[in-house]
């Protein structure tokens, strides 16, 4: 196993791109149906611009010290390390459940109605523990295969929907300030990748800021493309069911050949697998390097317990899947804590000083 080999930052960001793009696969758009496509585009742009701001503290730490955030804390202020570990452990558990819940819900509603969501979550978590135990490097290599598959899947989903395109409505700029705020908040969800980047960038080499920018731009392009097809190929029908991307895959067809929702299922499963595995890696890293597998298994058990609670207790589920809570938590994890550490911890952001 190559756990100590540094890998290209490009690959980490490619994996993060997949993570951010997969968010849209599991979203049930609670956007205003009367808002047009152009309005959604503005929301996407604003949302991703805000996401970029989430990246800044991690990027500053990475560029100036060469370390990721947990390593820096561990080296510079070992006393603070347990508190940081507890906070980020909670964050990653929360975020893992945030993605796991809609996935199991979608799975049980659209594919296997009689299957228990807990069973689905358990099997997925077992697979994720295996992947997380192999390390970030290996998961990012898996990301290359997933990227190719995601490209094919998206071409199939969108290409198959071209015949259903109808531009009767949607190219309008309707929307209020409140809708803009809600829409932008909705598109800030992929900002969680900034926290992953902050945690795992220490394994990488050849990092450039433009890689982050490109990742966010490509995420925006993917969002825009999906929104385009949802608006013009599905129209009002999109809002009749949950998980609009699933509906898009259901509509996609090439002549008599349909069934592209099977590709959607595969893509979503692999994406959630990737995200949860990365979270488990981050958890392992936040807690410490020694006995990583033990920590990963413990956190997977916690995620499973929380997921089971959410399945049976509606208030828990509502709290865990609330986009605003998620964005708020991400803001604290990606911006507030690192900035507070940098400002109040008076850390010398000098590579040589830290290295010495």
């Amino acid at each position: 196993m190559q756990t100590k080999v540094a890998f290209s930052a490009k690959r980490l960001l490619l994996t993060l791109l997949l993570c951010s793009c997969s968010v849209i696969l599991l979203q049930s758009f609670d956007l205003s149906p009367r808002a047009g496509f152009l309005f959604h585009l503005i929301c996407i742009a604003v949302g991703l611009a805000v996401s970029f701001l989430f990246f800044i503290p991690s990027v500053v730490i990475r560029v100036r010290t060469g370390f990721d955030f947990p390593t820096l804390v561990h080296r510079e202020s070992p006393r603070l390390s347990p508190f940081i570990a507890v906070f980020y452990g909670a964050y990653f558990v929360y975020t893992a459940v945030f993605f796991l819940l809609p996935y199991t819900d979608m799975f049980c509603k659209k594919y296997f109605p009689e299957t228990s969501p807990c069973f689905v979550a358990a099997l997925l978590l077992i697979s994720c523990v295996y992947a997380a135990a192999k390390g970030t490097n290996v998961i990012t290599r898996f990301g290359i295969f997933l990227f190719v598959f995601a490209l094919i899947a998206n071409v199939l989903m969108m290409g198959g929907s071209v015949s259903s395109l109808s531009f009767g409505s949607g190219v309008v700029l309707n929307g209020t300030a409140d809708e803009l705020f809600r829409g932008a908040l909705y598109f800030v969800t992929p900002a969680f990748i900034a926290v992953i980047f902050g945690f795992l960038s220490g394994f990488t080499k050849n990092f450039r800021l433009r890689q982050v920018v490109l990742t966010l731009i490509l995420t925006g392009v993917k969002y825009a493309a999906i929104m385009f097809f949802v608006c013009f190929a599905l129209g009002a029908y999109a809002y009749r069911q949950e998980y609009q991307t699933f509906v898009l895959s259901r509509v996609a067809h090439f002549g008599i050949y349909s069934g592209i929702e099977s590709v959607y299922l595969a893509l979503t499963t692999m994406s959630v697998f990737l995200i949860v595995s990365l979270f488990l890696c981050c958890v392992g890293k936040s807690v410490g390097q020694s006995g990583v597998l033990k920590h990963i298994i413990c956190f997977a058990a916690v995620i499973f317990t929380l997921h089971t609670c959410a399945v049976y207790l509606r208030p828990v589920s509502e709290l865990l899947t609330d986009t605003a809570v998620m964005v708020g938590f991400t803001f604290i994890a990606a911006v507030v804590v690192p900035c507070a550490y940098l400002i109040f911890g008076r850390v010398r952001l000098d590579k040589k000083a830290v290295g010495a």
Binding site: M1, L123, S127, A131, V138, F142, I144
Partner: protein, 510 residues
């Protein structure tokens, strides 16, 4: 099969110390004691041949020629050793003086090695040398008169090519070495000898190009081979486990095997190391990567577009052989709506007439196929035809007609089986994964297949071969090496920038 008898042209240079119990330094023993000790060591084995000689001398010098039955060329032994020894007059020479005379004036062989202890003596005679020991002399002589029957050089059945050399490795180590040397005449080609197996004392050669192979890789390889604690090594496959990187999955092999000298030469030029084991035609090449399984000698002889087509075909066949039965099971069991309508009608009607659920049916057919394949391999050739008829007619057509299995299941299993032979080196993982995917598809549908696929990809990505990522070229992705993965670029581009295996990204040992 032609068998010929040849005389080894190369001197064996036994450097390793062997360790046998109850063997001592024979310099202090008399000839009689030595011979009796030797017989005791071999427990009076029938193939230990001791020819005791009374040499022509005034002092009554005694000597013995020790050989192993069937390992020496008797005619050469007579001409170069026995006749000169018996006809030479040693006069009043002592044992040591006689030994000098034997070395410089008596023996007609060009291949004589001195030795001084019993362990070396055993090594020499078991390697086909004739050992000459003289009473009262602390030295002995190993005379190269090897000659035993072995299979001649022929085309390997498992790696048949359309255009290219028809030579394949054979069992004797030295013949295999000569085949490589004939192809790479550069002095950079180095053969490094080692011995493995505490009982079998099997000789092997590390073969590499010193200007290409990484010294670090070589050190790692030497270390792993020296850690091999097997008593007997009869084939190169015995060493595979010791050469794999620790802690990595063993589903796919991180050790390449080839019976073709041209293939091995090609790999040597890319910085790989070959391990030639005496007594087996299968030569190990390491590091070994996943993409290599899809590269064939013919690719480099054919037109580039055709080579690219064959490569893509191989990848498709690999995926079909692994996924097809599992996907069919998953779709038929959980998602019939994903079948196109016309296939759905046919499959549904066919499966409704059979007694078993589709998962069991596919599992059973795959199992029956594996049994037939194994029987086909082991059965005498004269009966092979009968097995084919039984397989095709009885298990195939009759079972379908009797309604025991459906035609669609049979077709899927057969297609997967044929596809698996396109990349025959990958057959063990293909077979294993096929069963896993059938079970996953039958229990969990498409989702199960996706989940298992993710785990398998992770395991493949985590695998390394001598520190080089097993999935190199693909993951970690290397654009430079892509010209010899899915397509094969023209020779002008390939020869300009041959990619050394140590230059793959994220290689741990460079």
């Amino acid at each position: 099969m032609i068998t010929v008898c040849i005389i080894y042209p190369f001197p064996l240079n036994i450097q390793e110390k062997c360790s046998y119990s109850n063997i001592g330094d024979f310099m202090n023993d008399s000839l009689k004691e030595l011979l009796s000790e030797l017989k005791q060591t071999f427990a009076d084995s029938a193939d230990l041949t001791v020819r005791e000689l009374s040499l022509r001398s005034d002092t009554g010098l005694e000597a013995a020629v020790v050989t192993m039955e069937g390992m020496c060329d008797k005619e050469q032994l007579g001409q170069t050793v026995l006749t000169p020894l018996l006809s030479f007059d040693f006069g009043r020479d002592s044992g040591e003086e006689a030994a000098d005379a034997v070395l410089h004036s008596v023996l007609a062989s060009s291949d004589i090695i001195e030795f001084s202890d019993e362990q070396q003596l055993i090594s020499f005679i078991t390697s086909g040398f004739a050992a000459l020991v003289i009473d009262g002399c602390a030295r002995g002589f190993a005379i190269g008169v090897q000659g035993f029957a072995f299979r001649s050089v022929s085309e390997p059945e498992s790696e048949v090519v359309q255009r290219g050399s028809r030579e394949g490795f054979t069992e004797p180590l030295r013949v295999n070495m000569s085949m490589l040397r004939r192809r790479i005449k550069s002095p950079d080609l180095v053969f490094e000898q080692m011995t493995v197996g505490s009982d079998s004392q099997t000789q092997l050669m590390l073969c590499y190009l010193q200007n290409k192979a990484s010294p670090a890789l070589l050190d790692t390889l030497r270390k792993r081979l020296s850690e091999c604690d097997l008593e007997t090594v009869l084939a190169s496959g015995y060493l595979s486990d010791y050469l794999e990187d620790p802690g990595t999955s063993r589903l796919f092999s991180g050790v390449g095997i080839s019976e073709r000298p041209d293939t091995v030469c090609g790999k040597l030029t890319e910085g790989r190391i070959a391990v030639i084991v005496d007594g087996t035609p299968a030569v190990i090449t390491i590091p070994h990567l996943f993409v290599e399984e899809f590269q064939g000698v013919d690719d480099y002889s054919n037109r580039t577009y055709y080579a690219a087509f064959i490569r893509v075909l191989k990848y498709i066949a690999f995926f079909a052989s692994v996924f097809l039965p599992g996907l069919y099971t998953a779709l038929a069991q959980f998602h019939p709506e994903y079948f196109p309508t016309w296939i759905l009608i046919q499959t549904s009607e066919a499966l409704s007439k059979t007694p078993l659920p589709v998962t069991l049916e596919v599992l059973m057919m795959t199992f029956v196929y594996e049994v037939m394949k194994e029987a086909g391999l082991r059965i005498p050739k004269s009966l092979g035809h009968a097995v084919s008829i039984v397989g095709a007619l009885v298990i195939g057509e009759s079972a379908v007609n009797a309604g025991i299995i459906s035609a669609s299941t049979l077709m899927v299993v057969a297609t997967a089986a044929i596809c698996s032979y396109v990349t025959s080196a990958l057959y063990p993982p293909i077979m294993t994964l096929r069963f896993v995917f059938i079970i996953a598809g039958g229990l969990l549908g498409l989702w199960g297949i996706v989940l298992v696929t993710a785990v398998v990809i992770i395991s493949m990505c985590a695998k390394t071969s001598l520190g080089v990522p097993y999935m190199s070229s693909l993951a970690p992705f290397s654009l430079r090496s892509m010209r010899d993965v899915f397509i094969r670029a023209g020779w002008k581009r390939l020869s300009d920038r041959t990619i050394n295996v140590r230059n793959f990204p994220e290689t741990e040992v460079r």
